[in-house]
Subunit: 287 residues, 2 copies
């Protein structure tokens, strides 16, 4: 079954941390005969080639996808729709395109229909990343054991879903399916809200306190070191769900403040216990 799905030409558009890691893993696992990297900067493409992520590279998008059976768009969220449309006009007829964007509803709504020549788009979100960026930080095993969320619609063909599922699973990931809207709602809570909270925590520190930080502060704020452009685009494209998650967090933080201010440590304890219970439960499958 796996052999029948093997890809002739895989195009990776945007060869940074994620794109580079996908290329390295696809080549090592021999999922495609060709892996073409497409990027705007020659320097990134050179690094990605040197790291074994690509069999060929180009800065010309149309040229790069001309023979691509599967194209994966790994560029910033706000550029994905435009890139997919350009790919759809230049790739072989009936080819499949996916992306790795962290928000999905806007992208899927724009691309679910209207692509030419039977080209199809199906959204993916690999739940893997790092505060590091660039192909120099790519890792062949970045997706191993991670979740990839696929966001099919009513128009999605089963064959495309099977093919993408095979692709991500072949890279070592576990595939789950959600509607794009449900994806954005859940990811607001488990990924976008933590980023906002980590950023507010880091930004609220007095400079003179920073020399006393230890592992607690460093862990809690780690994701605040992430790429600002990328995160701004994520918040732009998922603002409604992010604000709802933020409200839930603020309500809880209010309870915490009121409990301490009132000296109601029984109430504080209950919140600390609930937090520990959920954290312990979430950590069990992965760490």
């Amino acid at each position: 079954m796996a052999a029948s799905k093997k890809i002739g030409t895989l195009a990776i558009v945007g060869v940074g941390l994620i794109g580079g890691s996908i290329g390295m893993a696809a080549r090592r696992r021999k999922l495609a005969q060709q892996v073409i990297g497409i990027g705007r900067r020659e320097s990134s493409l050179r690094i990605a080639r040197r790291r074994g992520a690509l069999t060929a590279a180009t800065t010309d998008l149309e040229e790069g996808v001309a023979e691509a059976d599967l194209s994966i768009v790994c560029t910033p969220v706000e550029t994905i729709v435009e890139r997919v449309r350009r790919i759809a006009a230049a790739c072989p007829a009936a080819a499949l395109i996916t992306d790795v964007g962290s928000t999905k509803a806007e992208i899927v709504a724009a691309l679910d229909r209207g692509l030419p020549r039977q080209v199809r788009f199906l959204g993916s979100h690999p739940m893997a990343g790092s505060e590091e960026t660039g192909p120099q930080h790519a890792q062949e095993d970045l997706l191993v054991g991670r979740s990839v969320i696929l966001t099919p619609t009513r128009r999605t063909r089963t064959a495309d879903l099977d093919r993408l599922r095979w692709f991500w699973e072949s890279l070592g990931a576990q595939v789950v399916q959600l509607s794009a809207r449900e994806h954005d709602r859940r990811i607001a809570t488990v990924s976008h809200l933590p980023h906002l909270v980590a950023a507010a925590l880091a930004a609220s520190a007095r400079p003179s306190d920073l020399e006393y930080v230890a592992s607690g502060w460093l862990d809690t704020t780690r994701i605040a070191a992430g790429d600002v452009d990328m995160w701004e685009q994520i918040f732009r494209t998922n603002s409604t769900h992010v604000l709802k998650s933020l409200s839930r967090f603020e309500t809880l933080l209010n309870s915490v403040r009121e409990a301490i201010a009132a000296g109601d440590y029984r109430r504080l304890r209950k919140i600390l216990q609930e937090a520990k219970r959920k954290r312990d439960a979430a950590a069990r499958p992965n760490s």
Copy 2:
């Protein structure tokens, strides 16, 4: 110089993660001829002995400190004052006692004077820990490269300060001095506030979202898995400074919410940039 400070008998009162790690390091570095572990549970003492943290162990506090030149109290914050008083009544005259409590003002105020027979107390706070507890998680190198804050008062003798500085530095730590009040103020921001925020974040997650958590959520909430009893006591004994830090955080989080709600992504960007700048600056010396 180091040799002249070597300790005859070191008593460790409370042999958990921190106490066990101090014992392991002190023995490996031959800082004391005897390392006596004192605890309430035979089982913990047995584990600590097996791990090489102790030369002897007892559940009898008075017996354990009878010959201790230096006693280190590693019990929960709210028990420290009582333990130090009992040690002071039972240890040799003119001996030195310290602790490893995460809040200092209450403890130092209670113990800065009034100990019998020229016994002295000088507060310490090793900035090292883990969400794990118990001597089975002790590590010989837990303090290497970490900060230890000493909280001397006007009554502190220079010889005691030198001795404790030598002790912690011999375990690989960097020693800094702060008044107890200043300690509590700064640690509220860099340690206690992150714990509250991590706990509120973990507690606010919907159970159905937990299966989608990835490294970002797990890192940001890691410390929320910490010991609930220990943290409750920390918040009890540092509530004023914790509430002030929490206010600063809430102000920043308000700005974040307003920026997203208003679509003012230039303002959001500024906060994300400030957060990244501070996080990058704080990470540089240690990680």
